[in-house]
């Protein structure tokens, strides 16, 4: 199963962790050493991840580069890493943006450098672990481990209201994840009771179909076991995305996070939510997914339009971009729950696109913040004369974020709209209005900051980008053009996985849509416990 015969995924995931340990051993004063080792380890991780698309077999939905060891046999936990067409590009995005995050912190972080880079590297390991894990226990561990460094990045190195924003972020996401934990346990015990094998292995858990007969009716809506478990996962992922109405942590966290924190938050962390939907909710609970499509569509469309409208009135650049994330993530969930090939492909590629363009937008705000220590749009204006390179790069990124043809955003949004249109043209119509609003707030933002007369005297002495700063933005711009002009290497590698998920959804539990065999079957023992299902409430003797 592992073409490389080498634990490449673990290598990619743990290189940053290794770097964190190394930095731990470095003296606090050796600032250069700390910076360069952080860069070296993120770069090494990125370089290692370049093997993945090269050796990736696009013809199969099966998990590749698999690593499996028995970890806690008593309760059926396996250390199970794998990669498929859904996670491939998100992993690449993570390793790529982590390098950028290190470079963009180079000069802007001066206080408590050592701890900062340790947390940043821990965060990278956590994020990669989430995308690699195919065991719920392992997944949950990484899912939570990721929160702690992010909490500290916001809380220690953030701006004015950092304490409030940090705890709000932590509490919100933790609340979601503990609810998901209940869902995981429910699935675990249901599977155990059905088959006698207690395991957290996601692929094995997918083999059982979970009951979709209604258990009770609430306000006229029937709820089955599958629906309830689906909702418990939904809570966690919807908070992470964030979907309306769970989005209120996002503007605060983004606004107060340091630039690198915002880049990672927007670029990767938000994708965890949509990744969770597509990895777990869709293939594991197909009936419930279909059951909740109207709700998901409504919430997505509200997010698209509401997010865009709030953007129009933001005086703070960073907050504006944060709200634009709400709108863009609405597109991604819209495409995903159209439940057809275009929609899902579009949503996956759009996850990458949003990571690139919104990450870059946060970098752009960060560059100005480093110089002027303000994020208020009213303080800026006419900067294009003073900083032509900056203005050019900003323009490209802005157009990418708006979805201009030739740039990456267009590919994703187009596929999503095609997908949505095929199901219901009204959805597509609403979504298109979001694109129009998106163009409006982005162009207006650009106009107010870059064009016009340079009226504020504080802006007269601004320096254009240094070579270091350009190295953070130029690679992203190149990627935007690549995906925009020649997306097929990206799309072709996700096709098999997307088709597999669609088969799971549309044929229900038909034998044709059996998940690929779990790579650990027969290799790793599963916990065997009370083979007969216990009825709730039955006395123990």
């Amino acid at each position: 199963m592992n073409v490389l015969q080498f634990p490449i995924l673990s290598l990619i995931a743990y290189l940053p962790l290794l770097g964190a340990f190394l930095i731990l051993a470095l003296p606090k004063e050796s600032k250069g050493g700390i910076r360069w080792s952080a860069l070296a380890f993120t770069l090494a991780s990125f370089a290692a991840s370049l093997w993945l698309p090269a050796y990736f077999d696009a013809s199969t939905p099966e998990m590749q580069f698999v690593e499996a060891f028995s970890w806690i046999p008593t309760i059926g936990v396996t250390y199970l890493f794998g990669l498929d067409g859904i996670s491939l590009w998100l992993v690449m995005l993570t390793t790529f943006l982590s390098v950028i995050a290190v470079i963009c912190s180079w000069e802007s972080i001066t206080m408590r450098l050592k701890e900062y880079y340790i947390f940043l590297l821990l965060l990278e390991t956590g994020m990669l672990g989430v995308f690699f894990s195919l065991d719920f226990f392992l997944f949950y561990v990484f899912w939570e481990v990721m929160l702690v460094p992010m909490y500290f990045l916001i809380g220690v190195w953030g701006s004015e209201r950092r304490l409030y924003s940090a705890i709000k972020f932590f509490l919100y996401t933790l609340f979601g994840s503990v609810i998901m934990l209940l869902g995981i346990l429910a699935v675990y015990y249901y599977h155990g009771a059905q088959t006698g094998a207690y395991t957290f292995d996601v692929l094995r858990l997918m083999k059982v179909s979970y009951p979709s007969t209604p258990l009770f009716t609430l306000l006229g809506v029937p709820f089955s076991f599958q629906d309830l478990v689906w909702l418990s996962f939904f809570m966690s992922f919807a908070i992470k995305v964030p979907m309306f109405p769970f989005h209120t942590w996002l503007p605060d966290a983004h606004t107060d996070a340091p630039t690198a924190g915002s880049v990672i938050l927007a670029g990767v962390l938000l994708k965890m939510g949509t990744y969770g939907f597509i990895r777990f909710n869709l293939p594991m609970f197909p009936e419930a997914t279909k059951h909740f499509v109207p709700m998901m569509m409504t919430l997505s469309i509200i997010a698209i339009i509401y997010g865009a409208m709030v953007c129009m009135v933001q005086p703070d650049m960073k907050r504006l971009i944060a709200y634009s994330s709400v709108s863009h993530m609405g597109f991604i969930t819209l495409g995903m729950f159209a439940l057809n090939a275009q929609g899902i492909q579009g949503s996956i590629i759009q996850m990458v696109n949003h990571g690139l363009s919104t990450g870059a937008l946060f970098l752009i705000v960060g560059l100005i913040y480093d110089r002027r220590h303000t994020r208020l749009i009213s303080e800026l204006g006419g900067l294009s004369k003073q900083m032509p390179v900056y203005a050019t790069l900003f323009a490209i990124i802005m157009l990418s974020s708006m979805g201009l043809p030739g740039l990456n955003g267009f590919i994703g949004e187009f596929l999503i709209l095609v997908g949505a249109f095929k199901v219901n043209y009204l959805w597509a119509a609403f979504a298109v209005s979001g694109i129009v609003l998106g163009a409006a707030y982005m162009l207006w933002l650009y106009q107010r900051t870059m064009f016009g007369a340079l009226e504020n005297p504080k802006n007269a002495a601004l320096q254009d980008l240094s070579p270091r700063e350009m190295t953070t933005l130029v690679p992203i711009v190149i990627m935007c053009f690549w995906i925009g002009l020649y997306p097929s290497p990206f799309l072709s590698r996700m096709e098999a996985s997307v088709n597999f998920i669609l088969a799971r959804i549309h044929q229900g539990q038909a034998a044709t849509a059996q998940p690929p065999p779990s790579p650990v079957e027969g290799v790793v023992p599963v916990a065997q416990r009370h083979p007969v299902a216990a009825l709730p409430g039955e006395p123990s003797r």
Partner: protein
């Protein structure tokens, strides 16, 4: 009961005998060792604890009853005895520097801790109401004295008196419940009680009353809401190592006898007492967590957090059966480790005039001592149940037991509670990492034994979190043949 005294019985109680001998030796040496050099008594006590553990290990896997069937050696008892002895050892280690700092290094402190541990060991092995009660009182009386050990300090006196009154009160309630059980069945042995309970007596309201009495009495000992009012004041006033002893050992001992009595003596009423503990668990964790948010004294905060953790532990009792009880056992170890670690941190911050008791005392710790701050952070995350720490594995197992038995609502409330708890645990993390006024305090110079305690608790917390397999197996095998 009329059997003659048997020397073979004594050998089964050898660990208890060794421990009490060590405690008496410490008491005697206290007169000989001059003031200022009594650290040695502490080290000697730890040695005694280790010796007892060594004597205890041959009992691994054995099941043997002694003293006319009143005393039982089984994996369940052994499990708890190891927990008590390990906790006692760590508590003595953290006391050594603390007592010197407070100018109160007296040998009887260690001797009393050892005697209290002896009481707990009796409780773990007791399968007869009388032995059980004797063990309970041996433990309680020692801790009444220890809570008031700083006799010139008002808070310490208040703590001792409050604990004495509440403890005496609850002991009386337990005794009343026991009397009713005896009256209904004519037996004091737990197994005998179970077999004397016929279908007829099971529906007798007096039996229900006895059950409620016992639950209330044990509820006081383990500090379940609404029997928790004494906890915050006693925790705050008692010397910090004794607070740790109360939280990490005495409450677990209470839980051990609760499990034994309810599972062995009145299994026929499981439906009813499961409901009773359902309500107690729900109240305990919710009240504990919500009230903890408002605390500014860390000992009080940890007091309420320990109440909340008792609530989580009761989930396992509610779920009952193999899975629930083994989850409870596992969580006692986890809980003891993290609680001891947290109190050791409070002692660590105790330098000169700073008592380390206010959350503000933790301000800027990350810059003052990065290692100490990191250790505290790991303990706090474990208390909040964030992976990869022991707290997460423990909670996963407990909540899983509840889900498996269909107690979904209880599990839901429990996870919401753990999310709430994160808020107040992170208040300490905020102080340590995100506030920048390092107080002009003295440099931290933890004594060597305290370092050992912190190392053991932090490494243990991480070890159970990352590789829980052996601990899960141990908890599972320890309840074999319990009922």
């Amino acid at each position: 009961m009329t059997q003659a005294f048997n020397m073979a019985d004594l050998s089964t109680a050898l660990p208890e005998v060794v421990l009490s001998l060590v405690a008496m030796v410490i008491l005697m040496l206290d007169f000989i060792v001059p003031k200022g050099r009594r650290d040695w008594l502490g080290y000697l006590s730890v040695l005694g604890v280790l010796l007892t553990l060594m004597v205890l290990f041959p009992q691994w896997g054995a099941t043997q009853s002694a003293f006319s069937g009143q005393y039982l050696i089984d994996p369940f008892a052994l499990f708890f005895k190891i927990v008590f002895l390990a906790s006692a050892g760590l508590i003595i280690l953290m006391s050594i520097g603390y007592l010197r700092n407070e100018g109160a290094d007296r040998g009887e402190f260690y001797a009393l801790i050892l005697f209290a541990t002896l009481g707990m060991m009796l409780m773990a092995s007791a399968v007869d109401l009388l032995i059980l009660y004797i063990g309970l009182e041996t433990m309680s009386i020692c801790i009444y004295v220890l809570a008031g050990f700083f006799k010139r300090e008002r808070r310490s006196n208040e703590a001792a008196l409050k604990y004495l009154l509440m403890g005496g009160f609850s002991s009386a309630i337990i005794l009343y419940g026991m009397v009713m059980l005896y009256g209904l069945t004519g037996a004091t042995g737990l197994k005998e009680i179970a077999s004397a309970l016929t279908a007829d007596t099971l529906s007798n309201p007096a039996l229900i009353l006895a059950m409620v009495m016992l639950a209330a009495g044990f509820g006081f000992k383990i500090a379940a809401v609404p029997f928790h009012m004494w906890i915050p004041d006693v925790y705050e006033g008692a010397p910090t190592p004794i607070t740790a002893l109360l939280a990490a050992a005495s409450e677990i001992a209470g839980l051990a006898i609760l499990l034994r009595v309810f599972l062995v003596a009145i299994p026929g009423l499981q439906d009813r007492w499961a409901l009773l503990f359902y309500v107690l668990s729900l109240l305990t964790m919710t009240v504990g967590n919500v009230v903890a948010i408002a605390q500014s004294n860390i000992k009080r905060m940890l007091a309420y957090s320990s109440i909340a953790h008792i609530g989580y532990l009761l989930i396992g009792v509610v779920a009952g059966r193999e899975l629930g009880i083994s989850a409870t056992l596992l969580y006692t170890v986890v809980y003891a480790l993290m609680t001891l670690g947290a109190f050791a941190m409070v002692i660590l911050l105790c330098v000169g005039e700073v008592k380390g008791e206010r959350i503000d005392d933790f301000t800027g710790l990350a810059q003052r001592s990065p290692m100490a701050a990191a250790a505290m952070l790991i303990l706090l995350l474990s208390l909040a149940g964030v992976p990869p720490t022991a707290g997460f594995v423990g909670k996963l197992y407990l909540f899983g037991a509840a889900i498996e038995r269909g107690y979904v609502l209880l599990a839901l409330i429990a996870v919401v509670n753990s999310a709430i708890s994160l808020f107040y645990y992170m208040k300490v993390a905020v102080a340590m990492y995100m506030r920048d006024l390092p107080p002009a305090g003295l440099a931290l110079s933890p004594s060597r034994p305290l370092r050992v305690v912190l190392f053991v608790t932090v490494v243990g917390t991480l070890a159970i979190g990352i590789y829980p397999g052996p601990f899960l197996d141990l908890a599972k095998s320890s309840i074999a043949g319990l009922w």
